[in-house]
């Protein structure tokens, strides 16, 4: 016979289980939510920005987000297959972008970049992809593979070491100065639509990034190697017992990640027009945040996380802080982005799409 517990005693029991940390976390959630709502209302009442400006903010955010998303894909794929956080991934991007810079510069000087944008763009992209992929494969073979079966922090430290090694190698080879990326006239062209002027290069970057990401998704979902990748991500040992060559899959994963990093590097340079040895670090860290936000190990999650982070960085200061009258809100863009990232992770510790993977495994 079931024992009936009085309702008031149940309530007391529930309340006694609430710790001070729970209370603080709820206070934090309510506080952040309050700031977001109050700031948004304040900004909208203030009416400083017209809809053309909001569209601009969104386009900037999507552009930045598409670059983050492409870098985040490399993080998430490697994590999915190897459970390794590859901190050198941002530097794979830098390697490709730096190498492609020399090609772009040569094309620009000869006038080829101006007169034949499509073949020039293809050559630049291919150079960047080849170099990023080659660097990624070399890192995998010589730095990460010896740590494949090592448990603990050693692989992570090794990844940080590879990151420093690449940065300093490029610094040693090409110097530490910042170089301006070629700026052909077709990249400065604008497209007008309903009174809004958008830079063509931003739309190009967003469009091509989405296209490449769809291509990657199709490879992972529908090719034999993609299926093998997913099998290794689920259970490497079981996949090996089923006859899958895990080494080959890992190499393929690094190849895909490297190629995406190479593309991201070129797009980054198209938009921000600079190359230097340290350029991979900050976008790399942001993209890692995006991968975690989306649910590390999940490809759609990385894309979603990248766009989310880009949009929050771009729209956040104007939308949330302007209305509160906070001076110099743009220096707080990273604070806003990462506070929201933490908030999402408090509600969904596995990231936005991370749970699906967990459920599948279960």
């Amino acid at each position: 016979m079931a024992v009936q517990i009085p309702e008031d005693r149940l309530k007391i029991a529930r309340l006694s289980r609430i710790s001070i940390v729970d209370v603080l976390l709820w206070a934090l959630r309510i506080g952040v939510l309050g700031v977001v709502i109050a700031g948004t209302i304040g900004t909208l009442i203030n009416g400083r920005y017209g809809w053309t400006q909001w569209v601009d903010f969104v386009v900037f955010g999507l552009t930045l987000g598409s670059i983050y998303a492409q870098i985040a894909l490399g993080y998430t794929m490697v994590y999915g297959v190897l459970r390794l956080i590859n901190f050198a991934h941002g530097d794979f991007m830098m390697s490709g972008a730096f190498s492609a810079f020399f090609v772009a510069n040569a094309f620009y000087r000869s006038g080829f970049l101006e007169s034949h944008p499509v073949p020039a763009l293809l050559c630049i992209l291919i150079t960047s992809m080849i170099v990023s992929t080659a660097v990624a494969l070399l890192a995998e073979r010589f730095a990460y593979r010896p740590f494949r079966r090592v448990v603990g922090l050693a692989p992570l430290i090794c990844a940080i070491g590879v990151s420093f090694f690449l940065q300093q190698t490029f610094r040693g080879m090409f110097g530490s100065s910042i170089r301006a990326y070629p700026d052909p006239s077709w990249q400065r062209a604008t497209i007008s639509f309903l009174g809004i002027e958008v830079q063509a290069v931003e739309l190009l970057v967003i469009g091509l990034a989405v296209l490449f990401m769809i291509g990657l998704y199709l490879i992972v979902q529908y090719t034999k190697m993609g299926k093998a990748m997913r099998a290794v991500a689920e259970d490497g040992d079981a996949a090996a017992l089923m006859g899958i060559d895990v080494d080959k899959v890992v190499v393929f994963t690094f190849m895909l990640g490297g190629a995406m990093a190479g593309i991201a590097g070129v797009f980054y340079c198209f938009v921000y027009k600079q190359v230097y040895f340290y350029m991979g670090f900050t976008p790399g860290i942001k993209a890692f945040g995006a991968a975690v936000l989306g649910g590390i190990g999940s490809i759609p999650g990385a894309v979603l996380g990248g766009f989310f982070l880009g949009l929050v960085e771009s729209v956040g200061p104007a939308l949330f802080l302007d209305g509160l009258g906070i001076p110099g809100p743009y220096q707080l863009r990273d604070v806003i982005a990462f506070t929201l990232l933490i908030m999402v992770l408090i509600f969904r510790p596995n990231g936005i799409l991370g749970e699906r993977l967990g459920k599948k495994r279960a």
Binding site: K273, Q274, Y278, E313, G328, Y330
Partner: protein
């Protein structure tokens, strides 16, 4: 030899070495006992024939390398002019890289302070490095002379006691900011401005002082914005600034952020024709390389380096610079570094005493006090320190970049002096 015997022989040798090192350590104070100098902050002994070690910390890596490298060259010319010797001792310049960051300044200063033979330190070029590094040096009794670190707080009347060991042969931004504000209002005709700083002491203090001066003249600062020095995407900020419709944007930033700003401001609707005005750290060949075509037309305030405004010896100094390094100055603080080195050497000459053993003895406090008593006609003008360590004054000018070719960089021609 049997292993046991070998081991005991090893132990004996190790004990002997330890005892030897111990005895040598003990012997040190006896050497100092013969010092002809007494000083409450300690005495540096330079053995006969040993070099006088002058420390230095400047930014010699990263995008602002030119700023520090130019100072290194200025100091080297000064030492060469002295025949590489002070009081018969060779001079050794120990240069550390401060990376133009507080962390870098801290590390470089700690390294220099850890060397017991560091007599005095030149640099840094960045205020952020000075803010972190100068207190560490002064804690070790070492005076330092900044060469391009211009933040007002470093030599302000109410500066922190830990900065008491810091002097500089460069102007203070309290002066340049006041000039910039006046110029913006009176000469450039701006009635409203937006300031952008990168959070570093140099940038934020300069933006603040200029803003105050501009308001004093009758102008209005619509907004004081801040970015991170590593920010690449400034378009949201610029879209926000465009809604304010300023006459000018005043942005005393470093190379990386300036390059992004100059490119992106021209791509922002509403800001296509709004001029960006910069300051001293933006007078660098590296900025042309980083910015490309968008640099053309960029105006900045900078000390007047024309031969009329500089010290009498400056034209000759420029010739030496070109001869020694095969190119024109790569930034604009070489003369200040030259003056800092001369000031340091003059102070050493004033207080150093020769002992009976032929060694040179330098009291740290005496050296520090001597720095405040010296005055001379330097390469950048008259050098004479006030009680807060401010040893140079500013003759301001406005320059404008006229070419996007990095090879044309030369202060006075590209950027070209346009005012006065």
């Amino acid at each position: 030899m049997r292993p046991k015997k070998l081991r005991s022989w090893g132990y004996s040798t190790a004990a002997g070495i330890v005892a030897g090192v111990f005895c040598m350590t003990l012997a040190q104070p006896f050497a100092h006992a013969a010092s002809p100098v007494e000083d409450p902050m300690g005495v540096i002994r330079i053995p006969k024939g040993a070099p006088v070690q002058i420390g230095a910390y400047w930014v010699i890596s990263g995008p602002d390398t030119a700023l520090g490298e130019d100072s290194v060259r200025g100091a080297k010319i000064a030492i060469a002019d002295l025949g590489d010797k002070v009081l018969g001792h060779p001079v050794k310049l120990n240069v550390e890289d401060d990376q133009c960051t507080p962390e870098g300044g801290q590390t470089a200063a700690t390294k220099l302070a850890a060397n017991p033979n560091t007599v005095i330190v030149l640099g840094p070029a960045c205020s952020s490095a000075a803010t972190a590094g100068a207190p560490i040096l002064w804690n070790a009794g070492i005076s330092s002379i900044g060469t391009a670190s211009t933040a007002p707080s470093l030599t302000a009347a109410d500066r922190k006691p830990e900065l008491a060991g810091f002097l500089r042969t460069i102007y203070s931004d309290a002066q340049s900011g006041a000039n910039d504000g006046k110029w913006l209002y009176k000469e450039a005709g701006a009635k409203t401005i937006v300031t952008i700083n990168d959070g570093s002491p140099y940038s934020s203090e300069l933006a603040r002082v200029t803003g105050e001066s501009f308001i004093k003249e009758g102008g209005k600062v619509l907004s004081a914005e801040a970015i991170q020095p590593t920010d690449v995407d400034l378009k949201p900020l610029l879209t926000h600034i465009a809604t304010l419709k300023p006459d000018k944007i005043y942005a005393p930033l470093f190379v990386a952020a300036t390059a992004q700003l100059l490119r992106q401001v021209k791509e922002t609707p509403g800001l296509e024709n709004v001029e960006v005005i910069g300051e001293g750290a933006q007078a660098a060949g590296a900025l042309i390389e980083a910015t490309g075509q968008a640099i053309v037309g960029f105006k900045l305030a900078y000390p007047d380096v024309s031969p009329d405004a500089m010290g009498k010896g400056y034209p000759g100094f420029l010739e030496k610079y070109k001869k020694m390094f095969g190119e024109a100055p790569i930034s604009g603080y070489h003369a200040n570094a030259y003056d800092a080195a001369v000031l340091a050497v003059k102070a050493i000459e004033q207080v150093a005493k020769q002992g009976d053993d032929g060694a040179l003895y330098i009291g740290k406090k005496a050296l520090h006090d001597a720095l405040f008593t010296i005055s001379f006609e330097g390469m950048g003008g008259t050098v004479k320190c006030n009680q807060y360590g401010q040893c140079a004054q500013l003759k301001s000018a406005i320059y404008q970049y006229v070419s996007a070719d990095p090879a044309t960089f030369s202060i006075g021609t590209n950027p070209k002096k346009i005012w006065p």
